[in-house]
Structure formats: C-alpha cells, structure tokens
C-alpha cells in the first residue's frame, strides 16, 4: 500500500482529505527508479476544479505513454491545508508518489485564468522552490508554464524558467529528449535552457531584456542570449487525427466540477468575435474525425464508468458532423442511462429536438449569448447573432414547452452608449413578449423567466479589441445600474431577472491580462499580504490587492484606462500566434466603424494562420 505524505490526524483535520491522497481510478503509478524524468503537472486551483480540466488529462496521458517519464499531479491545497503545511513546514507533494514537488525534474503549471496567479506563487512557496526563476539552483525543478494565459506571460514571467506557447502535444517529447541528453552530458540548468530556447514555442523569460519609454509603455523587448529567437511561434497540432486522446482519464473520488466524460470535438473557432481571445489564438479551426470521436466516447465511458458525456469546443454548432455525433450518442447511450450534456448550441430545429430528448424541458433553460444589447454594439464586436434569430429561436423553444431563458451580455464594450446598455433590457423584454405572443394562455406554465447576466468586458491580448480602454469600478457599477433601471421599466419586468458580475475583480483581471513584467511585483506583494484563491469570491480581497499595487507603484489607470495607440509595442507582441497584428488592427478599425467581418468558412480574411498549413484554411482544397 502507498504511504501518504501526511499522517491520518493531519488529513482528517482538513475538509475533504481525498484531495490529497491520489489513488484515483486510472491513476498511473510507475517505479520511480526506472524512469528518467519525473514531471509534476499542476493546476493551480483546488482539486475539484483541476481534476475537471481536459488539458491536464491529455498531457498526463501523453507523458505517461513514455516509459522513461512519470507524470504526476498536484493541485492547490485549500486554505486549511495551506495553513497546516506552512505550520508544520511540510513540503508540498505529488498525489501519485506523495514525493515532494521540489524533487521533480519539471513542474508544469497550466495557467487557465489570470485570477490564479497568486496560487502559482503558493504552489512554488509550499513546494519550497524559490519564487523567482533567477534564484533557482541546479537542484530545483524546471518550472514551465502553459495554457491560455501564456499568450501574455509577462506579469508572471519572472516566476517561470520557461513557457510553452501553444498546444502541448507538439514539442513536449522533444523537450524531454533534450533534457535527458543535456543531463547525460553533464550539462547545467543554463545549458538546458539555452538549447530549449531554440525549440519552437519555447519562451525563456530570462533570455529577454525589456526596456520602457518614459511614458511607461514598452520600448523594446530583445533577446539577450544568442539562443533565444526574437519571436516565439505558437505550436499547434495541424492534423487532429495525428494526436493523443486520453482513453483512460482519471476518475476522482470527490465530485469534480466536471464529473463526466469530456469529448473535445474541435479546436479553434471560425466566428471571429472581436472580444474573444480563444477565438483568435486557437486558430485555425481543426475538427476531430467523427469516427474517432465515436470510438473515444465508447471507450472512455467504459473505462471511467461515468454516467454523463459532454462535448467540448468553441462554437460547437459549427462542427460539421455535430448532428451525426449527437444522434449517435443519444442512440447508443440513452438506453444505458448515460446523460448527454449539450454544449451551448445555436437554437434551431435540430438543437431543440436534441434538447427535448436529453433534458427535462420543464426544468431546463435555454441559453443565448447575444453579448451585447443592440445590433450596433453586436456589429462592433462581430457577434453575428441578430435579434431576429434570437426571437425566432425563443419562439420555437416556447412552443416546445420551454419557459426559462438565460441571456448573457457584456458591459463596458468600446463605443458603448446608454442606448446600447438599455438595449439589454429591451431585448430581454422582447424575449418575454414573444412567450406571451406564441404560447396561448391555457398552455402557459406560469410566467416566463428571462434571466439576463452581464459581465464586464476585459480586453485580452491578441484580440482586435486589445486596444480598448477599460473603466473604473464606479463606472462599471453605474453601467450595471443603468441596465437594472432599464429592466425595471420594461413592460414585462415581472418576468425579467438581472445579475451582474463583481466590478473590482474585472478591474484587477484587466491589469493582469494586459500587464507587463513590472506587474509581477504587485502579484508577489499581494500574495505576501495573503491573497490566494482570488477566483473564489469568499477568498478574494480587493483591498489587499489595491494596497499591494499602491506599495509597488503599479498604477491601475495606466493598464486599464489609458488609450493605446495603434503604434504601441505590447508586452506580448513577441509571440507569434499566426494571427498578424496587421489583421488585428484591421479588425479594430472595422470594429470602430461597426462593420462586421464574415466567418472563416464564408470568406478568408487573411488573418495569417494559413501559414500553419492546416485546418479550415485548407478545407475543400485537398
């Protein structure tokens, strides 16, 4: 039986000790003396969140397919365990072998959202690994970051030895081979980093010098080491048939946030919404093979025992074989009592038919994401959903028995006016009106319920809206008030509900999203003041963050409120995502003019990703 790192008394004194014991179904255990590389994969949030992440499952499977690598896992210890580990000075350990993380060769951290940055410091700190890459010695693991936030790694650059920019399936094996080779040759940490810098997609922050202009903007960012390239090119899988899929994913004992089989059907998105980072950086669209997906579904359900399967991708309705796949899943698994959990789909006859088969219509609700309240505003962000389409979809759904609708919007978009904000309430009201219009009185099951939610728009790197200014907390709350007032004055106001997102988190996320290297001091200071689990409302402490920023001279207005010129050099410009800055500028200008841009299948806009030689850019040309 495996020995645990912690005693029974310690484990039983914290909430959910199962977070720290490993031993899950499909866990990989190897003989540590017979592997060359020990890799610890980390999701810097609590276990139940981290275990729900498909990316880690893919990489865990990919690494462990190799006999010479043992990939293990670690997640953020919750605050109760955090206190214990500090008090007893117990180094953070991996779940599989319960070995200190600091004894690993690599610590790979997936960075999915900005609000986990203090948790990254917690992981390093509890592992007893120096927080700054510059302070790490030959014995320390190589700390490597990956995931969406690495499209602007600068605010956390100094905490990492390297970043892997792009999809993990492509260069990791090469990187591991290189590590083995350098070690066999007796090379140093620096030797490894230098040679790794030459691999595509690998970014070593220490090999770049950053200079600033007097106004605080970036002057230049240039390699200080001959091995480092001027630009780091995003890595991606060109042919999705030619990749890994974990057929035996881990099955946690605790109920994970996603307690189901997740089937990734495609990567990328053809839509080109101008606010969406994923839609830009994951270009081009690459679909998975339908027959592969059917096989994965069958095998993974067998290997996990899950009773639910969900499809994952951006804009799932655009997957060419969606109908075939969904009907296959329903026919194959419904009688086996497997739930089919649908992604948000364009509301049409097909999706309504599917939904009525897999959900309880009376209990489930219909979701639309118009993102903005007026057509003008939707044209600015290039969200091709029209009021007509929403109302037609809603009408069909109401006839089919649904009476709950959820609408998602953003506030604080560039060029937004009072009319655009009030348009949110007006649209919600229209949806409610349609219900009373199409459902005769005797068939109504009480009142229709239209719930609108707004979040505050945060400009993200590598999007056409990356030049946009943000607002202050007070301005955001004023915007939410405007919507709230407008809701109350609608004819069907009794059927409308409205929620808005916290404003101070959005302000902070804005700084972290478009920050530069200097922001790292603020993150460290906030962590030292006790900030942790910032994405958890019960833990988030805005005051501490603002104190930390003030103490470190980090001006929120500089990052959020300033007008950025088209000529400005951005901290993330050194990354080549394939989408050119010229294209983004073109799209920004079109946004300001309120001109929409057709999707990738309708007409190629020459964004630049064609150079990768695959995906939607080459559809029908083979």
């Amino acid at each position: 039986m495996r020995k645990l790192a912690l005693s029974d008394e310690l484990l039983l004194s914290v909430e959910k000790p199962a977070r720290y014991i490993g031993g899950e179904i499909n866990e990989v255990i190897k003989d540590a003396s017979r592997v060359d590389i020990r890799f610890c994969m980390c999701f810097p949030d609590v276990y139940e969140i981290g275990m729900s992440h498909l990316g880690i499952q893919i990489l865990y499977d990919m690494f462990n397919r190799r006999d010479d690598i043992w990939c293990e896992r670690v997640y953020s210890p919750w605050t109760d365990m955090d206190r214990l580990l500090r008090e007893k000075q117990i180094p953070l350990f991996t779940l599989e072998s319960q070995t200190p993380v600091k004894d690993m060769d690599f610590l790979g951290i997936t960075i999915q959202y900005e609000m986990c940055y203090t948790n990254i410091l917690q992981i390093l700190d509890l592992s007893q690994i120096p927080l700054f890459a510059a302070d790490r010695g030959e014995d320390c693991p190589i700390v490597i970051g990956g995931g969406p936030c690495t499209y602007n790694p600068e605010p956390i650059a100094e905490f990492f030895d390297m970043f892997y920019i792009g999809e993990g399936e492509t260069v990791y094996y090469e990187l591991m081979d290189l590590y083995k080779k350098i070690r066999e040759e007796g090379g140093s940490r620096k030797d490894f980093l230098e040679q790794a810098a030459a691999l595509p997609g690998i970014y070593i922050p220490a090999f770049y010098d950053v200079e600033y202009n007097e106004d605080g903007t970036l002057k230049s960012m240039a390699p200080n080491n001959p091995h480092a390239p001027a630009r780091v090119v995003k890595q991606l899988v060109v042919d999705m048939r030619d990749t890994f899929y974990p057929e035996k994913p881990l099955v946690p004992f605790l109920k994970a946030t996603q307690d189901r089989v997740v089937l990734e059907i495609q990567r990328g998105c053809i839509r080109g919404c101008r606010f969406c980072q994923a839609g830009m950086v994951y270009r081009p669209v690459r679909e998975r093979d339908i027959e592969d997906l059917k096989q994965y579904a069958v095998k993974i359900l067998e290997n996990t025992g899950h009773d639910e399967i969900s499809l994952s991708s951006l804009s799932s309705s655009d997957y060419t074989h969606l109908k075939e796949l969904v009907y296959f899943l329903i026919e194959k698994f419904r009688q086996k009592d497997v739930n089919i959990s649908l992604p948000s789909l364009r509301i049409d006859a097909f999706s309504l038919d599917v939904m009525s088969r897999v959900q309880d219509v009376k209990k489930s609700s219909l979701t639309f994401a118009p993102e903005a309240g007026s057509q003008r505003m939707r044209d600015v962000i290039n969200k091709g959903l029209t009021e007509e389409v929403i109302l037609e979809g809603a009408a069909e759904a109401f006839k089919g028995g649904w009476n709950k609708v959820k609408l998602y919007f953003m506030l604080g978009l560039p060029t937004e006016t009072k009319e655009d904000m009030e348009g949110i309430a007006a649209l919600a009201n229209e949806v409610a009106r349609v219900y009373y219009e199409v459902v005769p009185k005797e068939k109504r099951q009480g009142r229709v319920q239209v719930t609108s939610s707004t979040s505050f728009f945060i400009p993200k790197p590598f999007t056409p809206l990356q030049w946009a200014s943000m607002f202050t907390k007070e301005q955001y709350l004023e915007k939410a008030r405007t919507v709230n007032e407008a809701m109350k004055s609608q004819l069907n106001h009794k059927s409308l509900r409205y929620n808005w997102h916290e404003a101070d988190v959005s302000v902070l996320e804005g700084v972290l999203a478009r920050g530069d290297r200097r922001v790292s001091r603020g993150i460290l200071d906030a962590y030292r003041r006790g900030c942790l689990f910032d994405s958890w409302s019960e833990c988030f402490d805005n005051e501490k963050w603002m104190e930390a920023f003030a103490a470190q001279g980090i001006d929120v207005a500089f990052y959020n409120l300033r007008e950025r010129s088209l000529e400005e050099v951005f901290p993330w410009d050194f990354i080549d995502t394939g989408v050119t800055k010229e294209f983004l500028k073109r799209e920004w200008k079109r946004a300001m003019e309120g001109v929409v841009t057709p999707n990738c299948r309708a007409k190629c806009q020459g964004c630049g990703v064609r150079k990768f030689g695959g995906g939607v850019c080459f559809e029908g040309q083979s």
Partner: protein
C-alpha cells in the same frame, strides 16, 4: 433480483466519505458491467443501498451494499469482474443472491464489530497498562455519557450497547449496538473511556476498523446476531434477464 455485496474499505480509502463511496460504486458497476436496475425519470439512478455509512477515518473489513440487478454472472465471476476495476484499498469479498423476501441491509443492522488499535508510527501512543483501564471501565454497570444531538444533549447509558468486548493482541475488540434503533459509535465509547481515565480522546488518534455487521434482535439475547452476509446465497450459474412478453 436482489444481491448483497460485501466489501472491504482499507488503507487510504478511509479518507473517502460515504457519499463519495456511493458515487464510486455507481461507476464500478458501469465499468464492471453489473446489470443494475435503474429508477425511472429524467435522471435515473442505480437502485442500491448501503447497510450502514462508515465514518470518515474508519476502515472496514465488512461493509455491505444491496443492489437490484436484472441479470448476473456467477458470484465468483462477479467478484472477479468488480475487483478488476477497484481502487487500491477497496475489495469485493462476496456477491450473493438474496431471497426476494429479504429486508434491506439498512433496516436490519443491529450490531457491529470493531477492532480498535494503535496506529503505526503515530505520535500518540496508548499509555502503559491501558488494558487494566479498559477492564475496569467496562466492568462498570452503568456508563453514562452526554449524547449531543442537533437540538439538545441528553444523558444516556452506553453500557448495555456494548454487547461483547475482548482484549486481543492487536487491540480492543468490541461488539456494539448499531443501526436505527440504538447506535453506539466506537468514537463515543472511546471518548467515555478516555474521560474515565481522566483524559481527553484525541480524535482520529487510534485505528478503528469495522470487522462485521450483523442483523438480529433489538436487544442483546433476544435473537442471535447473524452476519449480513449469511442472508445471501452463492450464485453458481449465470442468471439471464427475464424476458417480458410483448404486450399485444
């Protein structure tokens, strides 16, 4: 048909709570292809029930769960199939057919055996001569304890709930009243014991292993206690699904 499954929960599985054990078995059944019956409705669930939830931190050699199934392989094969997809620390001991008239395990549990022993490599050790303390403690006619419920606390005598006890080389063996009528948790007994010795029981400082669960009479002596496993019968040949006549 109903089956009764006996399993062990040892090692690190002591950290898996009762609700998670239920979810765990739902997945085991799917992985092992147990032909379990489902309730109807939009969110159907597997028809199974556990004899008695085991507290977090305890291990067990004798846990039980009853299931409604539609077809089955032999007992030996079912045990093997389920064990092929077990997590370390969980082990199926038996898979037995229950007579149709059998009451659910949950409703008949009357007693449980526990072995209380010192943890390996623990800072907390039992004081010298603890056996003597246990002897004099259990020799009392009445052992009053304050039992706290959500609403209030009341004084109860737990001595009658200790059916049997024995000092063994490995530790203290006790047979305690268990189930819906009268339930004595071993932790409560330990608290009383420590209090008797003028000390406070440090929670989770001792290993507590449930050895067996019994059905039987309401009080000691009324009816013999029968291990829950004894109600089932070994399945020697596969039983297919019942074929229902199609309605005209």
């Amino acid at each position: 048909m109903k089956v009764r499954v006996k399993f062990k929960k040892t090692g690190i599985m002591k950290f898996i709570g009762h609700l998670d054990v239920m979810r765990y078995f739902q997945k085991v059944n799917r992985r092992a292809g147990v032909d379990i019956a489902y309730s109807g409705g939009f969110s159907p669930h597997q028809i199974m029930s556990f004899a008695s939830p085991l507290g977090l931190g305890l291990t067990s050699e004798g846990e039980y769960l009853d299931m409604e199934i539609l077809s089955t392989d032999t007992s030996d094969h079912m045990v093997k199939r389920m064990n092929e997809t077990m997590a370390e620390g969980m082990e199926i001991v038996s898979f037995l057919l229950l007579p149709e008239t059998a009451k659910p395990a949950m409703s008949v549990v009357a007693a449980a055996d526990y072995l209380i022993s010192q943890k390996e490599a623990s800072a907390v050790t039992l004081p010298d001569g603890w056996q003597k303390t246990v002897e004099s403690f259990l020799a009392q006619d009445v052992i009053p304890v304050l039992k706290k419920t959500k609403k209030n606390e009341k004084q109860i005598d737990i001595r009658p709930m200790v059916y049997q006890w024995e000092l063994r080389d490995e530790g203290l063996f006790v047979k305690l009243s268990s189930g819906s009528a009268e339930n004595l948790k071993p932790e409560l007994l330990l608290e009383a014991l420590y209090q008797y010795a003028g000390k406070e029981y440090p929670p989770y400082s001792l290993d507590i292993c449930r050895l067996e669960l019994y059905a039987g009479g309401e009080a000691e002596g009324e009816q013999p206690l029968i291990p829950l496993e004894a109600f089932g019968k070994k399945i020697e040949a596969p039983i297919p699904r019942e074929v229902k006549e199609d309605m005209p």
